[in-house]
Amino acid sequence: MYDVVIIGAGPAGLSAAIACREWDLHVIVIDEFPKPGGRLLGQLHQEPSGEWWNGIEETKNLLDKAKEYNTEIQCGTSVHNVEKTSNGFSVHTNKGMFYGENLLIASGAAETAAPIPGWTLPGVMSIGAAQVMTNVHRVRVGKKGIVAGVNVLSAAIARELQIAGVELHSMALPAANSVTKNESDPKKVMDGLVRIAHLAPSPFLRFGSKFAKAAWVRDIAVKFYPKGGVKMWGMPIHIRKAIVSINGTEQVESVTICNVTPDGEPVPGSEKTVEVDFVCIAGGLYPLAELASVIGCPFQYIEELGGHIPVHNEQMETPVNGMFVAGNITGIESAKVARAQGKLAGLSIVKHRIKDLADINDKVHEALNEVKETREKASIQFHPGINEGREKVNKAFNDYQQTT
């Protein structure tokens, strides 16, 4: 029986484990990927300060710290069920059962699909898949590709592919259908683009970002969006072109793109074929909360945080006694926030277990402030309403406590 079983060896899970080990709790971290690090492993971008955020290095720092505290980490372990028992949790995996008095679910996020005709062909992959292939496995995903979906995540990863020498034709919108309606709407996409404009050396976008809140400026920017796209790091970003279909028999051979109106309607007769051998689908991320659901944790639907969120308080505690959450399962934010949340969750578990220790309250408080500061300083915001979303979850937790 472990004191804590942690599901997910990403930035949240690892930093939580370190915090628990610092207080000498008996901990195991499990993850189904062959290497620890989660989505952090693949990240590589230059901060506005000029410094590089290197996910492999950041993971190594966490692993060194974990090793220093003799933390047990077991990869290649897939959890398929979790049960609450009278004295803790049973975690069912392909490598047998794990028992913990406490449970931390740090299972991260899954990618939201933006389905385009032909997207089941080999050579079509999620943008995150391309990131892992490029930076973790060091394999080129193809000779020349195109990105379907213009958002914070896809812009960052497109840049990573470029740095690795992988050629991208451009980034464009997925064609409009009932599923892709937000990702295919030039105005909504523009709203997202101006939030990352400070990262890009484009005067057009920087101009736009100053007026981000005025809808009329945005509408003009969409209407007069350059035909050749706005270039970020030399690569055209199109919000007035959409990928209508992905073509090929055994694998991707080309895509068909067309011009779209400011409302995202295709312009008839504007179709063009672009030869590519890979396509990255970028529909964004949603919290991967299936295990929290299986265990019976209550949920809240919070758009600002990316979807259905297990109810939890600021200290990452859920209404299920002894169960905690951290990282992207609590809402889509950066790896830095996830890491800070992990530490907070770890300390909260310590507090939960060792109630009468004077020191721990201060530590939890410090860690909570660290989460908030990290959030404020984030150079990439996935959603402008993060703070409102966080308040909603916290309120849900309090409401839940009062009614039960």
């Binding site: 398929h80 389905p115 997207w119 259908n177 299986v294 639907y301």
Partner: protein, 89 residues
């Protein structure tokens, strides 16, 4: 355009899902039972948000605080030997 596949595992198209939802005015769960969308090998992890979006458009089923498609264990396909307690090498 509605010929696009939404559920990759079971190859269910947007048209299939829309028609079924319109005809029977049904929930995500009923669409899953009728057309197998979200019922395949991946357990709906890939198409779940897409299904929610389509159903919201067709039937006005707004995602409530409970997940529209209930998550059932096992959340990964497992062999009977693993379910029976054997460890994979």
């Amino acid at each position: 355009m509605d010929k696009v596949i939404i559920c990759r595992c079971e190859e269910v198209t947007l048209e299939d899902i829309k028609n079924t939802a319109e005809k029977h005015h049904c929930s995500a769960r009923e669409v899953k039972l009728r057309k197998r969308a979200g019922m395949g090998y991946c357990g709906g992890r890939t198409c779940r948000p897409a299904l929610d979006t389509v159903l919201q458009e067709v039937t006005g089923e707004v995602p409530g605080d409970d997940m529209p498609l209930k998550v059932q264990p096992p959340v990964r396909p497992v062999t009977l030997s693993v379910l029976g307690g054997q460890k994979q090498s």
